[in-house]
Subunit: 339 residues, 4 copies
Amino acid sequence: MKIGVVGASGYAGGELLRLLAFHPHFEVTAITAHSNAGELITSVHPQLQSYVGKKFSAFAPNDFASCDLIFLALPHGESAKVIAQLPTTSKIVDLGADYRLESADQWSKYYGGGYAGSWTYGLADIEPFKSQISQSTKVANPGCYATSIALGAAPAASIADLSDLVVVAASGTTGAGRSAKISLIASEVAGSLTSYKFGGVHQHTPEIEQTLTKISGTQAKISFTPILAPMPRGILSTITAKLAKKVTTEEAHSLYVKYFADSQFVTVLPIGVMPKTAALTGSNYVQIQVAVDDHTSRLVISVAIDNLGKGAAAQAIQNANLMCGLDEAAGLRFDGLGV
Amino acid sequence: MKIGVVGASGYAGGELLRLLAFHPHFEVTAITAHSNAGELITSVHPQLQSYVGKKFSAFAPNDFASCDLIFLALPHGESAKVIAQLPTTSKIVDLGADYRLESADQWSKYYGGGYAGSWTYGLADIEPFKSQISQSTKVANPGCYATSIALGAAPAASIADLSDLVVVAASGTTGAGRSAKISLIASEVAGSLTSYKFGGVHQHTPEIEQTLTKISGTQAKISFTPILAPMPRGILSTITAKLAKKVTTEEAHSLYVKYFADSQFVTVLPIGVMPKTAALTGSNYVQIQVAVDDHTSRLVISVAIDNLGKGAAAQAIQNANLMCGLDEAAGLRFDGLGV
Amino acid sequence: MKIGVVGASGYAGGELLRLLAFHPHFEVTAITAHSNAGELITSVHPQLQSYVGKKFSAFAPNDFASCDLIFLALPHGESAKVIAQLPTTSKIVDLGADYRLESADQWSKYYGGGYAGSWTYGLADIEPFKSQISQSTKVANPGCYATSIALGAAPAASIADLSDLVVVAASGTTGAGRSAKISLIASEVAGSLTSYKFGGVHQHTPEIEQTLTKISGTQAKISFTPILAPMPRGILSTITAKLAKKVTTEEAHSLYVKYFADSQFVTVLPIGVMPKTAALTGSNYVQIQVAVDDHTSRLVISVAIDNLGKGAAAQAIQNANLMCGLDEAAGLRFDGLGV
Amino acid sequence: MKIGVVGASGYAGGELLRLLAFHPHFEVTAITAHSNAGELITSVHPQLQSYVGKKFSAFAPNDFASCDLIFLALPHGESAKVIAQLPTTSKIVDLGADYRLESADQWSKYYGGGYAGSWTYGLADIEPFKSQISQSTKVANPGCYATSIALGAAPAASIADLSDLVVVAASGTTGAGRSAKISLIASEVAGSLTSYKFGGVHQHTPEIEQTLTKISGTQAKISFTPILAPMPRGILSTITAKLAKKVTTEEAHSLYVKYFADSQFVTVLPIGVMPKTAALTGSNYVQIQVAVDDHTSRLVISVAIDNLGKGAAAQAIQNANLMCGLDEAAGLRFDGLGV
C-alpha cells in the first residue's frame, strides 16, 4: 500500500518514517515538510539511513493522489487546510490535535482558532475505539499524555472516582517539538526538572476527560500537571483517584490484567514491578502498574510509554493497520530499546 | 567552633564537608566514615580540594569530645548507637530519620527496628520549628522529600483540605545514596523515569503528615508517589489539594508570599514562573509556585529543592547555625548552580 | 534456523535477544544466563516484551544440540569452557574477546590467563574479513571500540601513517557492562566525563593493531585513550594520523566513500556533516567523516557507532547471517533511533 | 571595590554574577545586558537569588565610571566598541577572545573582522602570565578549551615534542552559549556525542599554540578536535605528544607535580586517579593526570575543568584579584560540586 506523510520534519514525523521503513505492507511514496522542502531527509533526521538520498517535498496534492493512506504530522490548526486539498475519500490519520475533541467549546478554550470537527478517536488498544477505528477512514491519533493517562485510568472506572482524578506526568523533551527555543536547549534542561502549563491548563485535559467520560459513562474530571524531564523520550504518568469501593491491590491488579487481556501492546506488569520509560523507547508498548494505597483509600497507577512511539507514530501506524484491515501489529512487533 | 561529622562518605556527608569548608564560624575537626576509615577523603569525594591529604577516621568518641556540634549522616537506625558514646550535652544535628517521628507506631510501620524517640524537628524556615530549634541541643534534620512537601503544603492549611493531599515528587539519584546497586547504575537510570516505593509506602509519609498536622491543627493525610529521575540532584514536588474555600491564583500566591516573607531561603516565584531544580543545585534555597485550577477546584503547588542542599546538608547547617546562636544564613549565602 | 544465546543477561545479550526477535530466519530456542538462571528474562531486560513469560536457563549442553548457530556473550576467559561442551561442528559467534587475538603474547599482556587461540575475525563490513566469515563456522566478534576505530582507520592505509595513530574514543556506560559498581552508578556518571585505562593500556589496543596491520601490510601502532561518557549507548572515536602524502579533504573523502561503496552499513557522511552517536542507536550502522587538517598535515577521522548494536549484537548477527549464507542484512535493516 | 559586568545575560556572565556575590572584596554595582536590558536578572538566571529584584541595564558608560574593575563577557568582536566608551585607565578583564591573540594574521584567519590588538594573557596559574597579570590593567581571559589544554601541555615542554600535539577535548553544552539553535536543543544533544569545527579549524588553536610557544621557546603546533558532550558543564581534554626523551610515568608525574607546586588551583592527581569533570563543577580548580604510554612512546595527559568556572568566570576573578593586588584566591576557595 502507498503511504504519504505530511509534515515529516518534526520528531513525530521522523519516527513515523523510521517505523514505516520496517512495515511489511506499507511503502512511503510521498514525504513533505513545509519549511524543509528540498532538503535531504537525513539532513534533519540523520538516523534515517533507509531514506538516504531522498528529499522532503513541498506539499503538492497530486503527490498524494495515489496514496492509500496519509499521515498528517502538523502543528495544531494546520490539518484542515491540507485535508481540503486531498480527495474526500482519502484514508487519513491525523497525529495533530485538530480532530480529537467533540466539543467546539473545549477546542476554543484550550486551543483557540476555528474548530475543525471531530473524527474517530484513535486510542487503538481499547474499546469502543478499536472497533470504530476499523470502520473509519479518518482517525484522530491521540495526544501523547492523553494516551498514557487514558489507558492508565480507563480500567479504574468500575472501582474509582474518575470525577476527581489527579495526574502528574513527566515527558521527555521531544514532546516539546523540534523547536529552537532557549527553554529547550540542553544547557537549560540537562539535570533539571520543571513543570509547565501549570494550574490545570494543559490542552490534553479535555481530550482525556472526553475519553474517560465515554468509557465510564459519567463525567470524568482531571487535575493534570505536566513536567519536562531531562531525557529525550518517554512519558511517565502517575494517576490517582479515590477508591469508589474497597478493593485490594491484588483485586485492582487482576482487574487491570483482565481489562487489557486482549491488547497486544498494553502490559500490566507483575505486582511490584514498576513501569520504566526506557523499556518502551521506540516501541508501541505500554507498561502499567497499579496499587491500592490503604492509608488514603486511593488507587495509584503508573504508566510508561514512549511519547514518540505509542504516544505518536507507533499508535498512528496501529490505527492505519486497523483502518486498512491489516493485523494491528503489522510493522510494530519490536521491543523497546531498554537502555 | 569545632565541628564533627560522623558518616561523611555518603553523598549527604560529602555535601556537608563541602559546605562546611565555606563556613565562617565552623571548623571541621573530626571526620569519620565506617567503611572508608583510613582512606583519603578525596578518594571518595574527589571534588573536596579543601580536604586534600585528610583521611576519614574510624569513629572514636574522644575525637568528638571537644566538638561544639556534631552532624550525624548515618543510615537510619544507626544514630542511637553513636549518640550513646557521645556526651549527653553534645549539640547534635542528625541527618538520618531516627529522631524525626513522634510516634513509635509510625516508626515501627515505616522503618521497623527499635524506636529511638523524637527530637526537635529541624524544618528551619518555618514556625513553630525555627523557634524550637534555637532552643534545642538536639535536632532531627528533615528528610529531603519531607522538606519540599511540607514547605509547599504548609501555607495552604488555611485554604485547602490537607486531609487528602496528593503528591508526586521526583528525585535525582543521589537521593538513593552512594550504593552499588544495579538499579542505580547509569545505564539503567539514564534517559528513564520510573516510580518506586509505590502505593503509599514511602517512609517520609508519616513525617510529612506529622509536620502538616502540627501546623494546621487538623490531621493531614498524604498520598505520596516518589519517582527516580535521570539527574544527580534535585527534587521537584507537585502537590495538590481540594480548595476548602474559593480563592483565586492571585490570592493564593499572595498568601504564599506572606507566609514566607520572613524566610531568607524560601522564594515564592512571580506568578507564571516555575521552579526548576537546577536553579537550586548546591544551595539552601527553595523555589515555590502555586496556582488555583478552577476546573477542578484544586490548589496546585510546585516546589523545587536540591535534595543534598536544602534537602540534607544545607538545612542541617542552617539548623546548626540556629542552635549555636549564629545568623541562620551563615555559610549558606550562595546561589544555586543554575546550569 | 535455531539459535542459542549463552550469557544473555548482560547488555550485549539483551540487545542480541531484542534484535533476534525481529530476525526473519532465526528463532531463539535456548537462552542461558548463569547467575540469573530461573529468572524471567523480563526481570532483567524489561523491554523484551517479545520474551514475556520466558526464563533464563542454566547452561545445559543438550539445550544447544539442535541449534544451527550459537552466540556467546560471556565475560572474557569464559568462552572456552562452554565451547568444550558443544559439538565441534557448531557454528559459533563469540561476542567476547577470547578468540580475537592471533598472538598469545598479546593475549597474555592485555588479558592474562590461558590463551584460547584465534578464530576468523568478524569485522563484517570489510575485506578480507567478510569473505573469510562467509567460509567460517567460528567467528570472533570484534570489540566495540575496535570496530569503530578499525573501520575508521582502515581506508587511511594508503594515505596516512598508521604506525602512529592517535585515538581518543568515548563510550556510553553500557560498554562497562551491567555491573553493580560505585563508579558506574548514575550519581557518579551523570553530567561528567572521565578517562579510564589511561596511558595506552586498553585491551582493544592489540586487536585494533592486528586488524590494521593485516589491512595495511605494515605494522600499525595506536595510542588509544578511552573515556566514559554520560550516556547509556554510543561510541564516538576520533582518530588522527600524519598524512603520508599530500591529499585534500575532498580526495580523502572520496577515498573513504569508495572504500565503503559496497558496505550496506558504513556511511561516509557528506563533507561537513558530522557523525552523531544517537543517530546509530539500536542499529548496525556506522557513520564516518574525514577531513584533512592542513595546519598539522594530519588526517582526522570521526566515527560513531552504537556500542551495543554495531559494536556488539548487531554485528554479531551480521556475522551469523554471513556464516549461514543469508543476506548479511537480514534482520538488520532498521534505522537508528535518532533521538 | 566596585565591579561592573558588561554582557551578563550569557552563561559566563551568569556565572560571574554568581561567583561575585560571594567575593569578600568585590561589590557588583553595574550589570548590563544588551538584549535583556530592563529584565529581571532572575528571569534569565533563575539561580541568582542574591540578585532578586535587580535588573539588567542597557550599557551606559557613566554607570561604569566609578567601577574599580570591569568584566566584559561579550561575543567576540564586540569588546572594542564598549572599551572605546570607558576611561582608558579602567581595569578590564575581557572574557571574550578579542585581545588574546598577538598575531593579526591569526585573528584574521580564525575569527575575521578587525583586529583589536593584544592584552596580557590571563592564564593565571602559571608563569610568565601570573606575574604579568599582576602588573596589568587590561587582561584577556583565556578561552575554556585553551585553558585546559595549555595547562595540561605546559609542563611537558621539557620532555615531549610540542610541535605535534594531538588533542581531543569534549565540552558541555554551555560552551556553545545560551543560544536558541536546533543543534543545541536537549532532544538533539541528550545521550549523544558529536564532533564540530572538525579538521583543525577551532578558533582556540592559535591561542593554545601562542601560549605553548611562549612557554617552550619553540613553535608549538596542535591538532585539535572538539566534541559536544551531553552534559551542561565541564571540559575533559586528552592531550598526547611524542616523548622527546625517555621518561617513566613516575618521572613525568613528578615533573607535573613540581610544575604546579605553587598553584593553588591546579591539582595533579595521585598516579592512577583520573580527572572527572563533575569534581570541578562551579569551581576554579583544575585536575590533571599524566602517563607515559611505553607502547607508543607518547605522553598522555588528561585535564578536567569547568568550562564556566576555571574556563571563564572563575579564572576571570582570579585575574581580577591579581590585578587588584588581592589574594588570587579571594572569593574562589570553594570546592567543585562533585555530584
